[in-house]
Amino acid sequence: MKIIVNDIPIECTEGDLLMDVLLDNNIKIPHFCYHQDLGADGNCRMCMVEIKGQKRPQIACDTFVTENLEVSTISEQINEVKRSILELELLNHPVDCPICDQAGECKLQDYYMDFGLYDSHLSTPKTKKGKAIDLGCNVILDQERCVLCTRCIRFTSDITKTGELGIIGRGDNARVAVALGHELDNDYAMNVVELCPVGALTSKDFRFKQRVWFLDSTKSVCHGCSRGCNIQIDYNETKYSAEKVHRFRSRRNKQINQSFLCDYGRLSYTELNEEFIGGISHVEDLKELLKVDKKIALVSPSMSLQQLSAVKEFCRNNNIELFSLPYIDESFGDDWLKTNDMSANFAGVKELGINSSEEEFNASLENLHVVINFDHKYLKNKELKNKKVVHFTTSNIETNYELVFAIANFAHDSGTIINCDMIKQDFYTTKYKSVHPRLVELLEELK
């Protein structure tokens, strides 16, 4: 069936939510409280549309499509309605955009430029509310910037079921808060920062570090555990800072993580800023070492399929016994996104038939003298007596090894990984180059 939006016919299915149809077809529809993974609440009234045959404007997040529904989102009347609603939302807003971290990705700013552009009618002083309240879990709340869309509250009550957030007070004084003596306390708390359409909830970790319009963004996949949540890597290369990646944001994927990330994964971006600094060995030395007979290699199960197969081929050509062991942490997983297997691509290791038996690995390690570690965490900074260790690393290491090669981490490399549900996903490289070569290139050089 089809509906008609702004005189253009659009294909959709009976019973679809009008809001979803508009969003999926990239039709601009302003909204605060609706979120595709939190559902409708209908409190913000920003998604008003005109529907032919209906007396009053309707909210798109509570309208289901029917055959030949005629919808208008851009008429002068509907813009006037939106302007009035927006004025109400902004009535007590402090308008502190120059010092607000959300500036540049703020829905209030966007909509004001689209529909607002009015002068304030307020003649009494604005209601003052709490500023920079630390809610715990890296979340900072500014109550004056809030539009009371309750996305954060619905996240804690419906998704994490921890219910720390709520609205207290009423009318002008209504504000989002945690209860006295309580804190925001769950493993997914930082999602509320991303859910917040305005600058009310900001991240302590990202606050005041970068203006969002200076950031570039690349599609990637979180490497924190085997779930493979879809992310955006936001980065900016500045002159005097070693820090290049500034945050992970979730990227919507209905099958895997919807629009959410765990705090552990969200904060794991810091690893990408810790590239290896120090002397790098010569390739010739490694070639020399490879002439020895008994060699063993351990490859990180977080490497991409491309890297793994290059390593596998390298090992076969040079007669090296290859192993890969998963990173298991029984205390990490939960019944939602986090999994006990903290490697990104262990399913890929299995698919390529790489030996992952810990017993066999330990037995071989006893007998062999040359150990090649492809960025596996178990051998990182571990002293191995009477053995020659070759270390390929994406991060800094403290121990002195025989040979050390630095390789680019997953922000500078593209590839494919398989998650715990056997879903194959690609991740892409950021625009700025790493100083270190990619593993696949390095192994090519060794041929």
């Binding site: 009423r170 006295l180 309580h182």
Partner: protein, 147 residues
């Protein structure tokens, strides 16, 4: 000592429980009873209520802060509630409030509240929960000095 309802209130709660199809509806009467018992709503009372109705603490706290009739802080003063809704306002509640604030705010806790359903006697206020109607500043002086 942690909060619990006294025997009379416990039997009231038992009767109330049967009246509502789901426990969420018990929040308001439970808050009322908690306030009546202790003169204000203690933090652990809200905790206790959240256990009874099986909802997060935050839900109870939200409700308690929404209604101005609930007091979350202890006061040792006697409480006067002055109505500020239409009928009383038209009949001069502003003057009454000012008179009270100017002369009695040290000894009494003076609160503005919404309509208490005694418009025929506007302007009105309550003292310790008892209605005093058709107020004038002189009358206030008389009543408060007599009590």
């Amino acid at each position: 000592m942690s909060f619990s309802y006294n025997i009379q209130n416990r039997s009231k709660i038992e009767l109330l429980e049967k009246r509502y199809p789901d426990k969420r509806a018990l929040i308001l009467p439970l808050l009322w009873l908690a306030q009546k018992q202790e003169s204000y709503i203690r933090e652990d009372a809200m905790q206790y209520i959240s256990e009874i109705v099986e909802l997060p603490y935050m839900n109870i706290y939200s409700v308690a802060t929404f209604y101005t009739m609930f007091r979350l802080e202890k006061t040792n003063k006697r409480i006067i509630e002055v109505c500020r809704t239409l009928s009383c306002e038209l009949n001069g509640s502003e003057e009454i409030k000012k008179h009270l604030d100017d002369n009695y705010s040290e000894d009494f806790e003076i609160l503005e509240v919404e309509c208490m359903g005694a418009c025929s006697g506007a302007p009105m206020c309550t003292l310790d929960g008892k209605y005093i109607e058709n107020l004038t500043p002189q009358m206030i002086d008389e009543v408060l000095n007599a009590n």
